[in-house]
Symmetry: C2
Subunit: 191 residues, 2 copies
């Protein structure tokens, strides 16, 4: 998605440690028209594949999942990172190593929100090492459901998670793939 590459170059910021900050339009603050355009693009990429549900992880994936689900016309669900007092039922869960936060956390979702009949599209704002995506794949597999594909707004190609998922035979659609951020210079993968 050319428009996203342009927005990353104009509004994104490369921080020390390989962190790309896009909080001004894609994360903590969201440009709603741009978000909806991204959701439409994802829905087009996965149209006709029988997606029944969009799945993500709280918190930054939620807005993106709403946009994709809106154009696919299917419900969405998100895995939570912390057990809260109103999670009473049994859950599917997976452990995820977070690159950004430098720690391991557990993601979980009540069993009733994924059934063996579901064909699931996993979405998130970022795809780096792919650990969150792999955790969601495990949850979907545990539920006996099927992974239709994985979609991220921004894939950090140099961290290898996206290509690893592709080698596993999973359809991966990222709106922008960054192959290098060395010295703060962002280089996108050519299609």
């Amino acid at each position: 998605m050319k428009a996203l590459e342009e927005k990353i170059l104009s509004d994104g910021e490369v921080l020390p440690g390989g962190v790309l900050k896009v909080g001004s339009f894609l994360n903590q603050q969201i440009d709603i028209k741009f978000l909806m355009a991204m959701g439409k693009d994802i829905a087009n990429a996965f149209s006709g594949l029988g997606v029944t549900k969009v799945l993500t992880v709280e918190a930054s994936g939620i807005a993106f999942a709403v946009a994709a689900a809106n154009f696919l016309g299917v419900p969405l669900a998100f895995a939570k990172k912390n057990k809260t007092s109103n999670v009473s039922s049994e859950v599917y869960s997976a452990f995820v190593d977070s690159y950004t936060h430098g720690k391991t956390y557990e993601i979980m979702i009540p069993k009733e929100y994924i059934t063996s009949k579901d064909r699931v599209l996993i979405v998130d704002d970022f795809l780096a090492c792919g650990n969150a995506m792999k955790g969601l794949c495990k949850i979907i597999s545990d539920a006996g459901a099927e992974v239709v594909g994985v979609s991220a707004a921004i894939e950090k190609g140099f961290q290898g998670g996206g290509d690893e998922l592709r080698r596993m035979g999973i359809k991966v659609y990222s709106l922008a793939i960054i192959d290098s951020m060395e010295n703060g210079k962002i280089v996108f993968r050519k299609n």
Copy 2:
């Protein structure tokens, strides 16, 4: 919004301790068409009031904020509950007592996401004691911006937060107001 009252009665669940579980359509799993209908309803209620931004708190408010922002045609932003490694700039913050989680947490948002020119609509899925809403009001006030109003999907009228905000002169629009949940029986406030 009559449709929400009906959905709460058919799909909601009253748990011990005054917790209303609506995770199957409004929180951890989201009925996207219903979410968008709620967003449209909120946008109608605040149309013509010059809203420039929708503000919420992660995580469960985000989907709702996306829906409202979509129909208002303005950006949204959310306050985070935990400081992460990619929050580098100065933040506005407030302390919030959580009824559901039984603890106090800090919410924060980078200063550049709210300016003194903003006219802000605060949205969240629930309005109970109103602590999260009051925390967001403090943040907006600290930024020198204006609170146009507060909107929640479900207001627990018996916990008083909504009426307290109304007495402060704030326009509060809740799609469903529950005045009692005694013995698991849900009673809505009449308009």
